[in-house]
């Protein structure tokens, strides 16, 4: 004979308005195993919880059913109340008579009352069979891995490091700063991007708690929240950075030139090079594809010139192994290749450039030293057309989403252009202007009214080269007229897309991306920085397109999530996970392949399937796959469910 307490919640009139509470309460007052059948207007309120606590103590209950709203809402409330009264929390079950009963049967009160009774009956059967369980505890490795050394990764790394925990910051390129370092000025304040960013890159480079691994990529991640084992490939730089002083002599003397990736093809760099004058760390690498020695076997100028003998042509990639407890993904973005938009002639017309190319043209460290000169012939362009939503918001191109930054940065570009070429004319074609951030709308208003930028609401159909002019065919939808502009240069606000390799990284991390390749958050509103995998957090454009203020905010939030994990003594996990009946398991291994979380494996000695309790999420995939019914979920055995169904029928 069990002693179970039943507590029925009115939820104001949400439940009581449809279900006859007195009838339900009366039905269960003389019911097998029910010690007490009670009700209250709001069970989740403090007096309601007190009723539950008092009953557990006074009547020595060994199980509780609360008939109320969905377990997603208050299961945790009542389980905590039970714990404080001395009852194991896993002996508390919720009978959902609101979302699954009163709300959906408001016009059929008698039937709703019957259904509420049936739901409660089944949950009584479950609670009778529930085992008292203890939460599972693990140790936490209190070090973090941050993937991506742009503004998002740097911010998150510094926040975590300042709290006293070690951070490994991995960056694909050979210095940190990401896309922000390529920008000239930033909206809405028009302050210099480098001036804002370099204090951060310098701090990250010098921080005693940050281990910087540039020119490196994450290759393998094993383990689970609190205990990840990571393998990182450090690519061969062919320069011994422990010896290199960053004097720059090798860059000066190197005879091989190639297109600069940092300047987006508008400038040149040497085969041995640092990314920018403000590079952190300020150490060069040799690009094998353009180095004369690697291509032709002759040269070795850098080796001869280096005063500290740092050049090493024999260097090999290195694999570094690290243990961390949490991972932040901050892999940033790329922009859509403009070759995918042939109607704007990119690839054929040199003077049709993208937003990042304009940033380099305008940058003091860029190929023109900050003068606005067009790529084809170096002339100062007098008529410049800026086009928004190129690729973005275009389902035909497979990118229906808004890239969120183009409205602002093209406005910024046009303003900066007018600063440098006051007698030039800037035209901006837009669909509508999305200036949602703090100070953004004011910036756009000022651009229109004071900076004399010509905003044209409409799309551009086509760009054609005619002589040394670019003929832009567009439409002004406000006046309903066709517009034809003979421009000297065109700047395209191309769509923001996930950075190359994001999908492969998601596979390595065993987390998911959305249909476009951005990392998926666990909940779009309530868990925007958590990934779908425990212990892996998201920051910046890796999750979705966003501007610098939002990126920094999200990076701070991701760091805070890591810190709240590291603040715990031990990891605690729900024990409602899979277990194996060793007597029934034949070691076939079907559960190992069925498990989406890599939580199942065969024990080396016994050859019987075991569960990694930290990784198991209790999804039940193994339970349905197991041919012998050896896999079961705790407190959810087939016997329990059959008993519940029997009682209902």
């Amino acid at each position: 004979m069990k002693k179970i307490g039943l507590f029925i919640c009115h939820c104001g009139s949400n439940i009581a308005g449809t279900v006859d509470i007195a009838k339900v309460k009366g039905y269960f007052s003389e019911y097998d195993d029910i010690e007490i059948s009670d009700d209250y207007k709001y069970m989740c309120s403090e007096p309601g919880q007190k009723k539950l606590r008092d009953a557990i103590k006074e009547r020595e209950l060994d199980g509780v059913v609360v008939a109320c709203c969905s377990p997603r809402m208050h299961e945790i409330t009542f389980r905590n109340a039970a714990v404080s009264a001395g009852l194991n929390p896993y002996k508390v079950e919720i009978a959902n008579i609101r979302e699954q009963c009163s709300w959906v049967h408001q016009k059929e009160k008698d039937k709703a009352t019957e259904k509420a009774i049936a739901i409660i009956k089944t949950m009584i059967e479950k609670v009778k069979r529930d085992e008292p369980l203890q939460p599972i505890e693990f140790n936490i490795t209190k070090r973090a891995l941050v993937i991506g050394g742009g503004i998002a990764g740097i911010t998150a790394a510094i926040d975590i490091a300042n709290a006293g925990y070690e951070v490994i910051l991995v960056e694909k390129r050979h210095s940190i700063g990401g896309k922000m370092l390529e920008l000239s000025e930033t909206f809405p304040t028009l302050d210099c991007a480098q001036c804002t960013l370099t204090p951060k890159t310098v701090e990250a480079g010098r921080h005693p708690k940050i281990k910087l691994l540039v020119y490196s990529e994450v290759e393998e991640v094993k383990g689970y929240i609190g205990n990840f084992d990571v393998k990182i490939r450090r690519k061969a730089s062919y320069v011994d950075w422990t010896k290199c002083t960053g004097c720059g002599l090798c860059q000066e003397k190197c005879p091989a030139k190639t297109e600069s990736e940092f300047d987006h093809g508008l400038g040149e760099r040497k085969a041995i090079y640092t990314l920018s004058p403000q590079a952190v760390p300020n150490k060069p690498i040799i690009d094998k594809n353009s180095c004369r020695f690697f291509r032709e076997g002759k040269c070795r100028v850098c080796e001869k010139i280096c005063p500290v003998q740092a050049i090493n042509y024999e260097m090999k990639d290195e694999i570094i192994e690290e243990k961390v407890g949490a991972i932040i993904v901050a892999t940033g973005y790329d922009i859509l290749e403009t070759e995918k938009i042939p109607e704007y002639g990119y690839g054929m017309y040199k003077d049709v450039i993208d937003g990042l190319q304009f940033e380099r043209l305008n940058s003091a460290s860029g190929p023109t030293g900050g003068e606005i000169r067009r790529p084809s012939d170096g002339k100062v362009p007098k008529e410049v057309v800026f086009i928004k939503c190129v690729g973005s918001r275009d389902p035909e191109k497979g990118i229906p989403y808004c890239s969120r930054i183009c409205c602002m940065y093209l406005g910024k570009h046009a303003r900066l252009y007018k600063h440098k070429v006051p007698d030039g004319q800037a035209y901006l074609f837009y669909m509508d202007i999305r200036s949602f951030g703090k100070g953004y709308e004011e910036f756009i208003q000022q651009s229109m009214e004071e900076a004399n930028l010509l905003y044209i609401r409409g799309r551009v159909a086509r760009i054609m080269q005619e002589g040394d002019k670019l003929v832009v065919w567009g439409v002004d939808t406000l006046s309903g007229r066709k517009v034809e502009i003979k421009a000297d240069m065109v700047v395209l606000g191309t769509a923001v897309i996930p950075s190359g390799g994001a999908k492969e990284l998601a596979k390595i991390l065993r987390t998911s991306t959305d249909e476009y390749g951005f990392f998926s958050e666990a909940h779009i509103k309530l868990k925007p920085v958590e990934s779908m995998t425990g212990g892996i957090y998201l920051a910046g454009c890796a999750q979705a397109p966003k501007d610098i203020p939002d990126t920094v905010a999200q990076a701070g939030a991701a760091a805070a999530k890591v810190l709240s994990l590291f603040g715990q003594e031990k990891m605690v996990q729900e024990p409602l996970i899979a277990c194996v009946d060793a007597d029934l398991c034949s070691g076939c291994g079907i559960c190992v392949t069925a498990c989406p979380f890599d939580a199942r494996m065969l024990d080396d000695e016994s050859k019987i399937s075991i569960v990694n309790e930290a990784l198991c999420q209790g999804c039940g995939a193994c339970v349905s796959a197991c041919p012998n019914k050896a896999c079961q979920l705790r407190n959810a055995s087939p016997q329990t469910y059959m008993a519940m169904v029997d009682r209902y029928l």
Binding site: P342, E343, G345, M348, R462, M464, Q465, E466, G467
Partner: protein, 294 residues
């Protein structure tokens, strides 16, 4: 000799005879016979956009049943025929209800099952896929050395892209590759796929003339000595209407406009009578003589 059923269409039997004769004779020289469908009827002229307009699909369907007796590829060359035949076939393959309605109109002509395996091939696809551009360049006897030709991409052959499933309509390359295979120099020009004015030549000839004029100026600015088109209507607008362009613009210099198949005929060394230059308003003879090509 390989035989492919061939649908010439009305324009190629009248105004655009050069396009037709050069196609047949060139193919013969390359070992392929284009066999004209017996008793062919109109291609349909305009593809019906109304979902319930079935009768207009009957005429193309009739050609499909005739073609399948010879091969699973029906070759056509006129841009309008190609557009209508290809889109009609796609609709009849994919929409069972419309197919049934159309077959109901046809009685004894459609006793066999609908020829689902049929494909509509543009002449240039036959060259690309059956002969191959690389192979073609080994078979020509008079490479078009030094001849700068600007290929013009008409709308009907390439659009709507999702239904035509041909080349990238925004950035087509196929005619360029064809010119290269024939030993000529393709000239890329910005207006290569702009509207030629099309049927506006009838209802609003001034607007249409402006469209064609821009195309020609753009090609000339890019250094072209001749244009190339496969569409009879484009040819009319771009070639014949140069008469008016010259009247309206003092500095206008005429430029020959070749049919797609004429340059193949030249490169294969076909006799002058076959090449049909008397049908071109702007004669290419002096240009070709200058290059030593005829």
């Amino acid at each position: 000799m390989e035989i492919y059923p061939y649908f010439p269409g009305c324009a190629l039997s009248t105004k655009a005879k050069a396009l037709d004769i050069c196609a047949r004779e060139s193919m013969k020289a390359l070992g392929i016979e284009l066999k004209e469908l017996e008793d062919w009827t109109c291609c349909g002229a305009v593809f019906p956009l109304a979902e319930d307009e079935h009768i207009r699909l009957v005429s193309p369907a009739r050609s499909f049943y005739k073609a399948i007796k010879y091969s699973d590829r029906l070759v056509t060359l006129c841009s309008a025929c190609f557009n209508v035949l290809r889109r009609s076939l796609k609709v009849l393959k994919e929409n069972a209800a419309r197919r049934e309605r159309v077959i109901n109109y046809m009685e004894e002509e459609a006793l066999e099952p609908f020829p689902e395996q049929l494909k509509i091939h543009h002449f240039i696809e036959l060259i690309r896929d059956v002969i191959g551009f690389e192979n073609l360049s080994t078979k020509i006897t008079k490479p078009l050395q030094g001849l700068k030709i600007a290929p013009f991409y008409d709308c009907l052959t390439f659009r709507p892209p999702k239904e035509m499933e041909f080349e990238d309509s925004e950035n087509p390359r196929i005619f360029s590759n064809y010119i290269t295979a024939l030993g000529g120099i393709p000239v890329d020009f910005p207006y290569r796929s702009e509207c030629c004015g099309a049927h506006l030549s009838v209802s609003n000839p001034d607007v249409s003339l402006e469209c064609s004029y821009r195309i020609i100026k753009s090609a000339q600015l890019a250094g072209a000595e001749a244009l190339l088109t496969s569409c009879p209507l484009c040819h009319y607008n771009l070639d014949f209407r140069q008469k008016e362009m010259a009247e309206k613009n003092i500095d206008f210099k005429p430029i020959p406009v070749f049919y797609l198949t004429q340059i193949l005929g030249i490169a294969l060394g076909l006799p002058k009578e076959v090449l049909g230059f008397e049908k071109n308003y702007v004669s290419p003879l002096s240009l070709l003589e200058g290059k030593g090509l005829i």
